[in-house]
């Protein structure tokens, strides 16, 4: 049996899989990932009559998104992995979002709110029923993203619900907008993306995918306030 955990945004999702989906739950956790995720998994195990000892591997979403959310989910996964002595692998939350469209034959752009008018985004290409990343996760703005579109593209991700009108206005029929149900990430897709990695036994060094990391030099000196570019 395998477990997937995604805590990367206000939405949390967990999935248990054993040749088939045994359990999946996606809920609005807001800032309560730490208090709701493990109890949800425990309840699922209980209702299925299964046990944590039966787990063979864990897949965690590594971001981008909420820094604290991603860390909470990854810590839980890593902690369980260590105590059960099973491998833990990490998958981009954007890949999880884009995976349902892997056989579309189109480009897929994932959008996630980064606050202050900025967006986390990544672009995938669906080719031969597989996803290939063509632009890695980065921070951008909606205008910048839309400006570069030259071919029919699927837009998915939580932020699409709020921006679909602007996307349609700008791109017309070139934009294929995912539905609100498709825009929420589901941990079953995390399993689908992570299983090959688990089967190759790629035990990874955990690192959250954090796109706003400032260049930090380990120093005890105070270096003042942010500089203004004016």
């Amino acid at each position: 049996m395998y477990l997937a955990i995604d805590n990367c945004t206000n939405f949390a999702s967990v999935c248990l899989y054993d040749s088939n989906i045994l359990y999946e739950n996606t809920w609005l956790a807001k800032e309560q990932h730490t208090t709701t995720t493990l109890p949800t998994i425990e309840k699922a195990m209980l209702s299925l009559g299964r046990n944590f000892n039966e787990l063979k591997g864990i897949v965690c979403a590594k971001g981008p998104g909420s820094f604290n959310g991603a860390r909470a989910g990854m810590s839980l996964g890593i902690g369980l992995g260590m105590s059960l002595n099973i491998p833990v692998v990490f998958v981009s939350a954007m890949e999880e979002n884009a995976l349902p469209f892997k056989d579309s034959g189109l480009n897929i752009i994932c959008l996630m709110d980064a606050g202050r008018g900025e967006i986390y985004t990544a672009t995938y290409q669906s080719l031969n029923d597989r996803l290939t990343i063509i632009q890695e996760e980065h921070i951008s703005t909606l205008n910048e993203i839309l400006y570069k579109i030259t071919c029919p593209t699927i837009f998915c991700g939580e932020y699409v619900n709020q921006t679909s009108t602007s996307i349609k206005e700008k791109l017309g029929s070139m934009a294929i907008i995912a539905t609100f149900a498709q825009n929420i990430r589901r941990a079953s897709f995390l399993i689908e993306a992570g299983l090959p990695k688990l089967q190759e036994a790629q035990d990874e060094v955990p690192a959250p995918l954090y796109l706003r990391k400032p260049p930090i030099t380990l120093s005890n000196k105070t270096v003042g306030l942010p500089k203004q570019d004016n």
Binding site: P214, L218, G224, L225, P226
Partner: protein, 154 residues
């Protein structure tokens, strides 16, 4: 040149009154960075901001817990204090982004301890300095929204 406004506060009440005005004019996502020596009145100012946001919970210093969150006002208030953090990695590891890029109002004491790049380029910087009697509050607006906020202040 950043737009500034200065206030002279003789008493604790005066400092809180300025904080209250800031709280009343604060907008969703506002970032207030506070600087000033120990005992200058940064937490006192934060109490005023909370009052201006109609928060009824008591505001206490977040020096030891690092971050406190208050949700019962007009907007959420995130009150943070970097005093105890000495290296940039520890500050980064706090995960301040979820707060300062969130929907509430963030007040960060000892903001000067964080390196550039950790905060967005738009914010209000509030420098509190001790005078012979009372305090001097210098408000420095970085970004159009904060300039507007300063203009709304008396």
């Amino acid at each position: 040149m950043a737009k500034t406004k200065e206030y002279y506060c003789l008493t604790v009440n005066d400092t809180q009154r300025i904080g209250c005005l800031l709280g009343q004019h604060a907008f969703s996502g506002a970032l207030f960075l506070c600087g000033g020596d120990l005992g200058a009145g940064k937490t006192c100012l934060a109490k005023g901001i909370a009052y201006g946001l109609n928060i009824s919970e008591e505001i206490t210093s977040p020096t030891f817990v690092l971050i406190k969150e208050y949700y019962d006002g007009r907007l959420p208030l995130y009150h943070m204090d970097l005093y105890r953090l000495d290296d940039q990695t520890s500050i980064f590891d706090l995960g301040l982004d979820d707060y300062i890029y969130g929907q509430g109002v963030s007040v960060i004491e000892w903001a000067e301890k964080a390196t550039s790049g950790l905060f967005p380029s738009e914010y209000l910087y509030i420098q509190i300095s001790l005078e012979k009697e009372g305090r001097r509050l210098k408000l420095e607006a970085h970004g159009a929204l904060y300039e507007e906020l300063l203009e709304e202040m008396p």
